[in-house]
């Protein structure tokens, strides 16, 4: 693609792009190498701390469970394992086999006859999907908006930041609840609602960083050398704010998982997928609390907690790298 552009472009358009395709490749190689070095450096510092190491292992374990869910789960998560006499919904759940009950269900079944262990395994998929997609988009959109606002300043900055102010006026969960009620209860709408609101914090932080970066000599130098706006934003500003993007991304995973669990718990979860939040909602709806069926509602909460704590700890570890004051 770069070569196609090459022929039509003036050689003075961008001083970096004067050479042949050979140098083009070299430039990409150089960029890639720089990236590699920075990432390796960060990774080394990050894994120095025990809590971060444990968190990374936890997340990795959950990712593996999510990928291999069909092999780990013992049953179909939304398939009734048996039925009551004539009723569709059985009146009593099966006891978990780890407690010594003589059933094929490791963590027993729900009151609707679903296998809890399999639901837990498949719930990992929903949690990670919501967390990762929402985090990538919130961090991405937030970074882009922050960079554009900070670099251009003036009216563009004003307009974008008023939009961010407005989003800060929206209460998170109530807004997601209303949006999901309007758009319909499914996982994609929850993710969409979360993305719409959550990029606000990344945008604010990245913008203030970009404001100070654009006054730095290397940006001025690039401007004088005739680099275009987009070139400066993508090559000179973006790499410098990237640690912050990662930071907000990892916090974003945690927040998104928490929010999805909350919305599902309230009863606006996707009825066709299993998530830890919908499991908690079902256990509450069938009064598992009062019957003491703890194997139904304790495991999903522990999973949510573990994943979210890991996200926060990784984010915090990263924060200490990007903000040496905290060390």
């Amino acid at each position: 693609m770069a070569q196609e552009e090459h022929s039509t472009r003036s050689i003075f358009a961008d001083l970096d792009d004067t050479g042949s395709s050979d140098e083009e490749i070299n430039k990409w190689q150089r960029t890639a190498r720089l990236w590699q070095e920075t990432l390796r450096d960060h990774w080394g510092k990050l894994t120095d701390e025990l809590s971060v190491k444990l968190s990374l292992l936890t997340v990795a374990a959950f990712v593996l469970v999510a990928i291999f869910a069909p092999f780990i789960a013992t049953h179909q998560p939304l398939q009734r394992q048996y039925q009551g006499d004539a009723e569709i919904i059985i009146d009593k759940w099966a006891e978990p086999s780890i407690l010594g009950a003589d059933t094929p269900y490791i963590l027993g079944t729900t009151a609707e006859g679903f296998d809890i262990f399999s639901q837990l395994v498949y719930g990992t998929r929903a949690a990670l999907m919501v967390g990762l997609i929402a985090a990538v988009f919130t961090a991405g959109i937030g970074t882009l908006v922050g960079l554009v606002a900070g670099y251009y300043g003036g009216k563009v900055d004003d307009a974008l930041m008023r939009l961010v102010d407005f989003l800060y006026g929206m209460p998170l969960l109530p807004t997601v609840i209303v949006l999901v009620a309007v758009l319909g209860p499914n996982l994609w709408n929850i993710i969409f609602a979360l993305i719409i609101l959550q990029w606000r914090s990344t945008a604010r932080v990245i913008r203030s960083q970009a404001l100070s970066l654009r006054e730095r000599p290397f940006v001025k130098a690039a401007e004088v050398a005739g680099a275009g706006d987009w070139h400066i934003i993508s090559r000179h500003l973006a790499p410098n704010v990237l640690p912050l993007t990662f930071l907000y991304g990892s916090f974003g995973i945690a927040w998104a998982i928490l929010a999805e669990a909350g919305v599902s718990f309230i009863g606006l979860g996707d009825p066709n997928t299993v998530s830890w939040g919908t499991m908690l909602q079902a256990s509450r709806a069938y009064s598992a609390l009062q019957f003491g069926a703890w194997w139904w509602f304790v495991p999903p909460g522990i999973c949510i907690g573990l994943l979210v704590i890991s996200g926060f700890l990784i984010g915090r570890g990263y924060e200490e790298i990007t903000n040496p004051k905290l060390q």
Binding site: G267, L280, V308
Partner: protein, 325 residues
């Protein structure tokens, strides 16, 4: 730019933000699938009543007229009538908002008192085991979902041990004559205990972490050395000199956090069946009681917007170094 013009500009911004939130809400509820009038008239109404209400909302009018009517109602705080109880929405808000404030403020004040103290100590004794544990506790408190902690507390102390009530704000059958009499009754405090503690535990992490990093910053300043050179007692330096100067970021953070606490009341109130405004909003959304949903949502948003505004002003007032430009 002077202080007065900053305040005026900020007030204008407040009004514009409220208008924007209202406008988005107007749009959202008209995107609701199904009959566009279904958000003000319930299906159980008679044809006459339905037409009357549609006319009174101006729903037979074109969209821009509806919008102006909506803004008018918003400005005069008329959110219409609940489908469910036929009460005016303002009455619904007046019933549920104080309950939310009671719960939130109790939890909030407790959490900030404890959180700030722990934050001061962990900043002071940095590098100690105490500091490490405090940070871990704070992070844990913020990562475990409050509604889940609430569920577990209900299960252990409510269902198993029977020491806390399972739901609500007062016991069934206990009739209180007035709001304040209810507040000071033992029964109410018994109901308040568990949700307030669960929330307080969650709120505590934020001031702790902020106070800790703020303390670290203050402790590196010269005047602390001067205090030491003067021979002041460590405790005097810690609380009188360092903590007071480190308190500034907490004030703004607290105002903003309180706004989000009220806005985030949805989950904890649902778990403990606390009759607050967040739970009412959820119930209204679930049973498609749109006037109530709209009204309660506006109250939650307005709380956040107003407290953000207060935080901005407080910051300028408390920190003379802030300039208005």
């Amino acid at each position: 730019m002077g202080k007065a013009s900053f305040v005026i500009r900020r007030i204008l911004q407040l009004v514009v933000t409220l208008w924007a939130v209202g406008t988005v809400l107007f749009g959202l509820f008209r995107l609701m699938p199904g009959d566009p009038t279904s958000y003000v008239v319930s299906s159980q109404m008679t044809q006459e009543a339905r037409e009357q209400i549609i006319a009174s909302y101006g729903l037979d009018q074109p969209l821009h007229v509806q919008y102006i009517k909506f803004l008018e109602n918003l400005a005069t705080l008329q959110f219409g009538q609940s489908f469910h109880s036929n009460q005016p929405v303002t009455d619904v808000i007046a019933t549920y908002l104080p309950n939310t404030l009671l719960l939130m403020l109790t939890a909030f004040i407790t959490a900030y008192a404890i959180g700030i103290t722990l934050g001061v100590l962990s900043g002071w004794y940095r590098g100690s085991r105490f500091e490490k544990n405090a940070v871990i506790v704070a992070l844990t408190a913020r990562s475990v979902p409050t509604f889940y902690v609430g569920l577990i507390v209900l299960w252990i102390f409510g269902a198993n041990l029977g020491v806390i009530p399972m739901s609500g704000m007062t016991s069934l059958g206990s009739q209180q004559t007035g709001f304040w009499q209810m507040v000071f009754s033992l029964d109410f405090l018994h109901h308040l205990l568990a949700p307030a503690l669960v929330l307080g535990f969650y709120f505590m992490g934020y001031p702790l972490l902020i106070m800790r990093s703020s303390m670290l910053e203050v402790l590196s300043e010269d005047f602390i050395d001067v205090c030491r050179a003067k021979g002041l007692k460590e405790r005097t330096i810690m609380f009188r000199h360092a903590a007071r100067n480190a308190l500034l970021p907490i004030v703004t953070a607290a105002a903003i956090a309180l706004g989000y606490a009220v806005g985030g009341s949805v989950l904890i109130e649902t778990v403990f069946a606390w009759p607050g405004i967040g739970r009412e909003m959820v119930r209204a959304v679930l049973r498609r009681d749109f006037p109530v949903a709209q009204g309660t949502f506006m109250v939650l948003a307005a709380t956040i917007i107003f407290l953000n505004f207060v935080a901005d002003l407080a910051y300028g007032y408390l920190d003379p170094r802030v300039t208005y430009d």
